[in-house]
């Protein structure tokens, strides 16, 4: 194959992965081209690209899934290569072929390999033939034997459509639900069943193959911390993998790649049971979200290697005989609430700490919208040991300031600081059992006080804050029902929270920072006063909503109102006015971020009002149904 250098590369993707690819392009002197939907018009990755092409609309089907538009865009700007990133069309063999047919370089594996691996069912057969350990699978619920079972979509990835079935009574509903979700997410409703491995770990091997016959395993990653079958914390190497097991995994992965004549970077995913037995899950024929951990432990630039392979270059020596140095851990920060529901909003502040790698598509001012993935960033730490990498990552996450949307950051820190993580006592079901550490009461107390003091400092004119010539009651403000009383006296600050006096000394207060000693410990507390107010300190992070000083009478929601937990589209409305419902009954089903969310009755009662119908777009907090009790 003739070496054909890439000079101008279009990334058929968005967000952090587009930035990630552009970053390598800069180091290689390759011109960069972005594509952008309406919603992404002012996204950082677009601003960083040399040139960009608009894909009108917002829905992926109108934009980042329109292969024809993407190829036309590449041709229009004279790009000679397309990098698909991950997601969207990255594992679409048809698109890959179309790119090649257009005379462009496809920075990805051969279409045939994508096609084969794209079907979990077909790939499994091939793997069995290649001697890669596999679990049995069934395409019809009737054939399946033994519980628990796992329902999976044959197409796609990311855990979408996946469901665990504990007994026969759940089987039909789970199968149908998975089909529906798979169809919605991937346009292909094919699903299958396989035995569910209890306490499984997710271990995957990074492979890379060039067009000169080399196929190399770049060690494994462990992605056992998952929520809803989506990875949130990944590490390399896996603490559950011995050198012997690593050898076995690597051989199996190389065999799998070779079985499909693989070229480029790919990932062979395995499920590892507590005994050390492993089974092929699937092969991801693209760059993985979590590739940075491999880069940090091998020192390789996987995107650069992708481009080299796509150009027809042989793998460099460093890739042919890779070495493993230290330990790397990645945490994915998502805009989501404690129930993993995606959140939207404007990031009023994004501030990353030094000393870690951050791959993010967002900056201060970026909008987290409803159209695309809610992953805000991947924060990746490297250390000489797992413990060191863990400490660095947890510390970095703690010092990150992220304002504007609810995130899973506290959960990530809590996981990293848990004894289970420390002792490597985790599996893919860990998060379902895990209860994040609750912050102590002082976090809320001190942050409420700091919020009040910063707000007061921001209002201060030329006279002392809250100045009185005659002794008076303190100023007060409340945040979500927590009342803060504070008074600046000649003897210093006097303050109490919910009636409890605090032992305080105020060193300084501005509208953005409060330097405060409470109970003998001095802390600088960063405050962004607004609606809501965000507070960051060594104690942790708080988002506080100031209660209205004068509640407008009658502004409260009707009792029994059920509201949308996030913006989305109403999929189904099962509630009918007059229905008797029980707590837990699903009354409305919303679709947001391609996930279904049931809005359930919180108490027994009668449906007294239904305010939405299927197809309606609703904002977070919109009242959907009112249930009267009694």
């Amino acid at each position: 194959m003739n070496a054909r250098p890439v000079t101008r590369l279009l990334v058929a993707n968005r967000g952090e992965i587009a930035r990630r690819v552009f970053r390598t392009c800069r180091t290689l002197g390759i011109a960069t081209v972005a594509v952008f939907s309406d919603a992404d018009a002012f996204a950082p990755y677009v601003a960083e690209a040399d040139e960009a092409v608009h894909l009108p609309g917002n829905a992926p089907a109108e934009t980042y899934l329109r292969g024809d538009l993407l190829i036309a865009a590449a041709l229009s700007v004279g790009a000679d290569a397309i990098h698909p990133g991950y997601g969207f069309l990255s594992e679409n063999a048809g698109f890959a072929q179309a790119v090649l047919d257009a005379g462009l370089i496809w920075v990805g594996p051969p279409p045939a390999a994508i096609d084969t691996m794209g079907s979990k069912l077909r790939s499994k057969e091939l793997m069995v033939a290649a001697g890669v350990p596999c679990l049995p699978s069934w395409t019809s619920p009737a054939d399946a034997s033994g519980f628990p079972l796992l329902v999976k979509a044959s197409a796609g990835g990311g855990g979408r459509g996946m469901r665990i079935v504990r007994g026969p009574e759940e089987l039909a509903a789970a199968f149908e639900g998975a089909q529906r979700e798979a169809l919605s997410a991937f346009g292909d409703g094919t699903v299958f069943l396989e035995p569910y491995v209890e306490r499984p770990r997710h271990v995957e091997v990074q492979v890379i193959a060039d067009t000169h016959g080399h196929t190399v395993a770049l060690f494994e990653r462990d992605c056992s911390i998952q929520r809803r079958h989506q990875k949130v914390v990944e590490e390399a190497p896996s603490p559950a993998v011995s050198p012997e097991l690593r050898e076995a995994l690597s051989s199996a992965a190389v065999a799998a790649a070779q079985a499909v004549d693989y070229e480029g970077v790919g990932t062979v995913e395995f499920v590892l049971d507590p005994s050390g037995a492993f089974f092929f899950l699937e092969m991801n024929t693209r760059l993985q979200v979590e590739h940075p951990v491999t880069e940090l432990v091998t020192g390789l630039d996987l995107v650069a290697l992708q481009i080299a392979v796509a150009s027809g270059d042989p793998l460099p020596p460093a890739a042919l005989s890779p070495s493993l140095t230290g330990h790397a851990i990645e945490a994915r920060i998502y805009a989501e609430d404690a129930d993993y529901l995606p959140q939207t909003g404007t990031l009023s502040l994004v501030s990353w700490p030094e000393g870690v790698r951050v791959d993010s598509g967002f900056e201060t001012g970026s909008v987290v919208g409803v159209h695309y993935d809610a992953m805000l960033a991947k924060v990746v730490a490297h250390g000489s040991t797992r413990a060191q990498a863990t400490a660095r990552l947890a510390d970095a996450l703690s010092r990150t300031r992220l304002h504007g949307v609810v995130t899973n950051r506290a959960l990530l820190v809590s996981v990293l600081r848990s004894p289970e993580w420390r002792d490597n006592d985790v599996d893919t079901g860990f998060l379902d059992r895990f209860t994040p550490a609750e912050p102590g009461p002082e976090l809320h107390q001190i942050h409420c006080l700091a919020a009040a003091l910063a707000a007061a400092a921001g209002r201060r004119g030329v006279f002392p804050s809250g100045w009185r010539n005659v002794s008076s009651q303190p100023q007060w403000v409340s945040y979500g029902g927590t009342r803060v009383d504070y008074q600046h006296t000649r003897n210093g600050l006097e303050a109490s929270v919910d009636g409890t006096p605090l032992d305080v000394h105020l060193w300084s207060a501005t509208s953005t920072q409060v330097d405060l000693t409470v109970g003998g410990v001095r802390r600088r507390i960063e405050v962004s006063v607004g609606e809501p107010t965000y507070i960051d300190s060594a104690l942790g992070h708080s988002t506080l909503v100031e209660d209205p000083r004068f509640p407008i009478p009658g502004s409260a929601l009707a009792e029994g109102s059920l509201t949308a937990p996030m913006p989305g589209t109403v999929l189904r409305v099962t509630a009918v006015v007059g229905d008797e419902v029980k707590a837990g009954d699903a009354l409305v089903v919303l679709e947001a971020m391609k996930m279904e969310h049931a809005v359930k009755a919180v108490a027994d009662g009668t449906v007294s009002d239904v305010l939405v119908e299927p197809g309606a777009q609703v904002d977070a907090g919109a009242v959907l149904v009112v249930v009267s009790s009694g």
Binding site: A456, R459, V462, N469, Q475, I552
Partner: protein
């Protein structure tokens, strides 16, 4: 610019301790006023789900904004509770400095007594002179009936004042939280804006018993004067508030829509000397003089004071400075006595301030104009008259702080209450009287002795001593800052450390009005 210096040895721990003791006496009286009608009535009021007068004010004010309470110890020394059942002061509402007056319903139902009327009258003067919006937080059972003779006829001035303020374009807002009956009904009646709290406000000329007596009609509170009735039927209420908080919210909304520019604060450099020192300069023994420059060094911006005529008439310090950014001409007594030179210097300085439209600040610490043959023959009366003429006819705003003694005609020349300073405050140890207690007792003794001698009667020395003691005690008590403040002869006693803030705030208020110094328009100066 001239930066004042102030030697550390002007400060004394003894004087500080003595001043703090005086301050504690004042604070104890203020606490009485804050306690309102006492624990029992306060608890009853709160149990009804109502806010206290001061809580209403705090909720009405902008968060963290300043509030200058005025006349907190009014009625001190009278048979009525300290505070005169009324809380009053200037504070920021929606960025606008407003006069806020609140009945204290825990004190005899918020009934107005003669001292309440005096306090109200003074507050109305401040409102008129400074064109401050007036917000009246109403909950009062009307006039204190046992003292109606003292209040009924003069008390009518309040209603005249209210409508005259309105006529002068000064907004008046009545927020009615409870009773506002009989004469009190004219408070909302005469106000520009009226908000009433549902099921709480009660506004009628005559309640059910009086109506029954007058016409035989059977009626009830709600139909005679309920908030709902006034909002829907009579139209006396412009807004119907759901509860007290809602009423205050609506009151704030009204201020926001008054189309008035907010308070104009100015940036400034703080003094170079710590305000704490203000406790330790003046002796509570008023015979001990102190240099007002040490006070000014802790009050004026950057301690920057350009003195006028420093070498002439040196027992009165005059000069120019800024306080919280506002230009001000200052007259401060240095050694108590005013001589002819001081009087003429003051008259000239006041004319200059008028020529440049600069407000004046008087720091009183005077024992009066010099007496004695030499001084009388030299025309001390003529010269003192020039100073009083200048003060009386000056049209720039005046502020006065009594930082020591204020005796005799010195009180007049240095813009005492009768000379209508826009604001007048006292330090806690200050004394004001026609003369010092010992001098007054001595004068009486001499007069008595002369009278006895002229009638050829023996003079009872024992009785004289007793009389002198009695008179001295009485005059001393009457001269005290608390006594004068109780009589509403000042606008409040301030912590000396608050002097700069109080003056800065008041200067902001007076500068919110248009003023122009008098040009030539003084009385005849007897040359």
């Amino acid at each position: 610019m001239t930066v004042l210096t102030s030697r550390p040895d002007v400060l004394s721990d003894e004087r500080r301790t003595a001043m703090l003791e005086q301050l504690a006496l004042v604070s104890a009286e203020v606490e009485k006023a804050r306690g309102g009608g006492g624990e029992k009535y306060t608890a009853r009021h709160l149990a009804r789900g109502k806010l206290l007068a001061r809580q209403r004010i705090e909720l009405l004010l902008d968060r963290d904004a300043p509030f200058l309470e005025l006349m907190p110890v009014a009625a001190y020394g009278s048979p009525f509770p300290v505070g005169a059942s009324l809380v009053c002061g200037i504070g920021r509402v929606e960025g606008v400095d407003c006069m806020i007056m609140a009945n204290d319903p825990t004190v005899r139902g918020g009934a107005s007594n003669p001292w309440s009327a005096r306090k109200t009258g003074r507050a109305m003067d401040i409102v008129r002179e400074n064109r401050l919006p007036l917000i009246f937080l109403v909950e009062s059972g009307g006039a204190d009936l046992p003292t109606q003779a003292e209040i009924f006829i003069p008390g009518g001035a309040m209603f005249r004042n209210l409508t005259q303020l309105s006529a002068a374009g000064i907004p008046t807002i009545a927020l009615v939280f409870g009773n506002s009956t009989a004469g009190g009904a004219y408070v909302p009646g005469m106000s520009d804006y009226v908000v009433m709290v549902r099921e709480r406000a009660k506004v009628f000329l005559g309640g059910p018993p009086l109506v029954k007596m007058a016409t035989g009609e059977e009626s009830d509170d709600e139909s005679l004067g309920g908030a709902e009735m006034h909002a829907r039927v009579s139209g006396l209420a412009d807004q119907l508030a759901e509860d007290e908080g809602d009423c205050l919210r609506l009151g704030r909304d009204i201020v926001r829509r008054l189309n008035r520019s907010g308070a104009q604060d100015r940036p400034s450099l703080p003094p170079r000397f710590d305000e704490e020192g203000l406790l330790a300069i003046a002796s509570t023994d008023l015979r001990v003089p102190f240099d007002p420059r040490d006070v000014l060094a802790r009050v004026v911006d950057d301690s920057d004071f350009d003195e006028f005529k420093p070498l002439y008439g040196s027992s009165l310090v005059t000069g120019w400075a800024r306080i919280h950014g506002w230009p001000v001409g200052i007259l401060a007594n240095a050694r108590g006595v005013l001589f002819s030179e001081e009087s003429e210097k003051a008259a000239q300085f006041i004319q200059l301030a008028n020529s440049s439209d600069t407000p004046l600040l008087f720091l009183q610490n005077t024992t009066g104009y010099m007496v004695g043959k030499e001084y009388e023959q030299d025309g001390i009366i003529k010269d003192g008259a020039k100073m009083i003429n200048a003060v009386a006819n000056s049209t720039v705003p005046h502020l006065t702080v009594v930082i020591g003694a204020s005796y005799g005609a010195g009180n007049y020349g240095m813009c005492g209450r009768a000379f209508n300073p826009r604001f007048l405050f006292s330090w806690p140890h200050a004394k004001s009287a026609v003369m010092g207690p010992a001098q007054l007792a001595g004068v009486l003794s001499i007069v008595g002795r002369q009278s006895a001698e002229s009638r050829g009667l023996p003079y009872d020395e024992e009785q004289d001593a007793m009389m002198r003691q009695l008179v001295e005690t009485q005059i001393e008590a009457e001269s005290l800052a608390l006594a004068n403040s109780g009589r509403v002869y000042d606008d409040g006693i301030i912590d000396p450390r608050d002097t700069r803030t109080v003056l800065g705030y008041c200067l902001g208020v007076v500068n919110g009005t248009e003023f122009r110094g008098v040009r030539g328009g003084f009385g005849v100066f007897r040359m």
